[in-house]
Symmetry: D2
Subunit: 115 residues, 4 copies
Amino acid sequence: MDSLENLKLAIRTFADERDWDQFHSPKNLVMALSGEAGELAECFQWLTEDQSYNLSDKQRDAVADEIADVQLYLIRLADKLNLDIAQECRRKLLHNAEKYPVDKAKGTAKKYTDL
Amino acid sequence: MDSLENLKLAIRTFADERDWDQFHSPKNLVMALSGEAGELAECFQWLTEDQSYNLSDKQRDAVADEIADVQLYLIRLADKLNLDIAQECRRKLLHNAEKYPVDKAKGTAKKYTDL
Amino acid sequence: MDSLENLKLAIRTFADERDWDQFHSPKNLVMALSGEAGELAECFQWLTEDQSYNLSDKQRDAVADEIADVQLYLIRLADKLNLDIAQECRRKLLHNAEKYPVDKAKGTAKKYTDL
Amino acid sequence: MDSLENLKLAIRTFADERDWDQFHSPKNLVMALSGEAGELAECFQWLTEDQSYNLSDKQRDAVADEIADVQLYLIRLADKLNLDIAQECRRKLLHNAEKYPVDKAKGTAKKYTDL
């Protein structure tokens, strides 16, 4: 079984054992994910881009922790909404491939944004 | 191969083909993830918790899109930092199981926070 | 002098005394603001809407702290970009008044979003 | 009257006229603020720090818009919680001055974080 599916089941068990399902409305989970995304941003806020490629062990551990937290809430959210994350990602990648054709998007960040 | 690994390789190819690796510093990817987490929050901001369980098809499609965007940037970020998301999630779940023992955490959201 | 202007000068002095101007690029300040917005979200993530109106003293103090942090970074950001926050807010309110005319927007959250 | 107080009253009138008070629970307003902070991050995600100091007119207008949106929701949130933003900011600045004494904090971003 794939990793996202395995993790989904592990998180579901974790929450069920603690009777935490009652707190896990999609709305609440989205707020929790915002919180973890914020903690992830805090790890990088004063680093230069160069420094962000070369984290100390302590920084890397902190970042790994926040990445896991974002991932766990994202999987839980998708589970509560009965969405298949991997499938949605594949769909989105196909969509993006059409939106940003290689010959037009090559080497420009302008394609990403309207700015 | 598992889903996160598959997606990592697909995203890597997508970025390489467009020569976008130059924009994908960990710092920048964290900001992009913040942006997508913000769009996800916007989908839910005026919904009650009950409504957040019962999305319309249009709302559900929008949410699926944002979940995919958060996931794609998270995978790309972990790839640039050479972190294995699934492994970090399993480590974090074990850590959380110790931090929130079932008998003490059962049915209380207080365990989650310091408030 | 108005409160936003006063605070701007106080923050500027605070940063100058610590030689922190070098870290306060607009990009970095936006990341710092994301972090504080995330901490604000964490204060509310497991609360119901009703509970969010009735915070305990401890919760209220924590929220006040995070509101201040968001505000301080927002003022600093606007200062670095030479933007007048109060003026931009007045402009935006006028814009919103046109976008959401009273007779059409009354009592509906649908007007806020495209969902 | 100071700018934050003026804006608070203007926003209150705006919401009352549209009967939007019912949607403005503190929890919902925090989510709306997360959304706007995310849009602000999107303006800067692919810019270098140097570029973030030198925005084009179009970029600067977009940033001004998002700064206003964050500010408006922050003021509305504080109003609903009966918190005085300016007072909380002054309190926080005093707290930070003690936490980061000039002689120890000078020129180091390490003082900001635990990393």
